[in-house]
Homo-oligomer: 165 residues x 2
DNA sequence: ACTTGACCTCAACCAAAGTTGAGGCCAGAG
DNA sequence: CTCTGGCCTCAACTTTGGTTGAGGTCAAGT
């Protein structure tokens, strides 16, 4: 059985897939979308540096919170491209993410704490109810649905730092 | 300008759309999927009872938390179909939802609190890290990706009560 | 009577996030 | 040397959650 040879710091796509729990096809996809990068061997096989595992972990956990790949990409684009990211690089990135996570958490708390009330209270003016519009994030941009993704994507997609479109 | 006539307890699709902030096309879609129901006038127009506003609010807020429509439908299917749901019906439903919200919140907390650590700690064994697998929900079902939706859908899609899908 | 706005259906299209399959290359074990 | 497992590309397909548009009905206001 032919084993792919890799140097200590290089991983094959199969290894990344196994260690990250992500399908190879998804890794190819992420690469096409620019979320991860690889070098190629002389025979055109991908080789990943180990920090790719972190990138992938970051991608999956962020998706878990409902953040679309395009936004995740923008965050990852802040990492240095021509050197291996340092702990500080990652920490800076994750600080930004904390803001988003905090916002999500707050939103969920509001939701949870209001659900019973709102259901029970008889208020039919759901437009005003902060269950529907938990943090008044929306509220501008009059009635209309010109191709907005469902709320999860839409929610803080342009939120705290305003940097992601 | 022809104004649609409605009795006190009936709403047109346009009214529901406006009051709920959801596009008419989305309401049609939800109806096709069985998440909401309508009666028809003699001229085949939809009329919604007022509790539809709650159903729609419930749908949108649940989507916001990343729950797929199919699962939301299963929850809504627990409401009585041949009478207007009472406060108690809704409260029972929302109690079930709390469990899910609580799980999500816990997951987010774990994520948030671990992110810096995990990034900084130098642990490369990301498979073991609970950032990647926050509540050990996954972990069975060996390597493989046979058409799984992204983690958000997958996460507690069969979680606390085990009832959905 | 006629027009206008709100509604109807149905089919086609869209985007995101991948998966699947066909066809082909390459390297190491037997 | 050949076979096999792992990798490659590219195109097509999938699901979810809708939107858009064409073509048609109906009822109220003028």
């Amino acid at each position: 059985m032919p084993r792919a040879r890799t140097t200590f710091h290089e991983l094959t796509v199969g290894q990344v897939a196994e260690r990250s729990g992500v399908a190879i096809s998804a890794l190819h996809f992420y690469e096409r979308k620019g979320l991860i990068r690889s070098t190629r061997t002389t025979s055109n096989q991908r080789r990943y540096s180990r920090d790719t595992l972190r990138r992938v972990a970051f991608i999956r956990t962020s998706q878990n919170v409902g953040i679309p790949l395009a936004a995740i990409k923008q965050a990852l684009d802040q990492l240095p491209s021509e050197r291996t990211p340092t702990r500080e690089d990652w920490t800076r990135l994750s600080k930004g993410w904390r803001v988003i996570l905090d916002a999500r958490i707050a939103q969920l708390h509001a939701l949870r704490d209001t659900l019973d009330d709102c259901i029970g209270c008889g208020c039919l003016s759901l437009r005003a109810c902060h269950l529907r519009n938990p943090r008044d994030v929306l509220g501008r941009d009059g009635a209309g649905a010109r191709r907005l993704p469902p709320p999860s994507e839409r929610q803080e997609a342009q939120s705290p730092n305003g940097s992601w479109e």
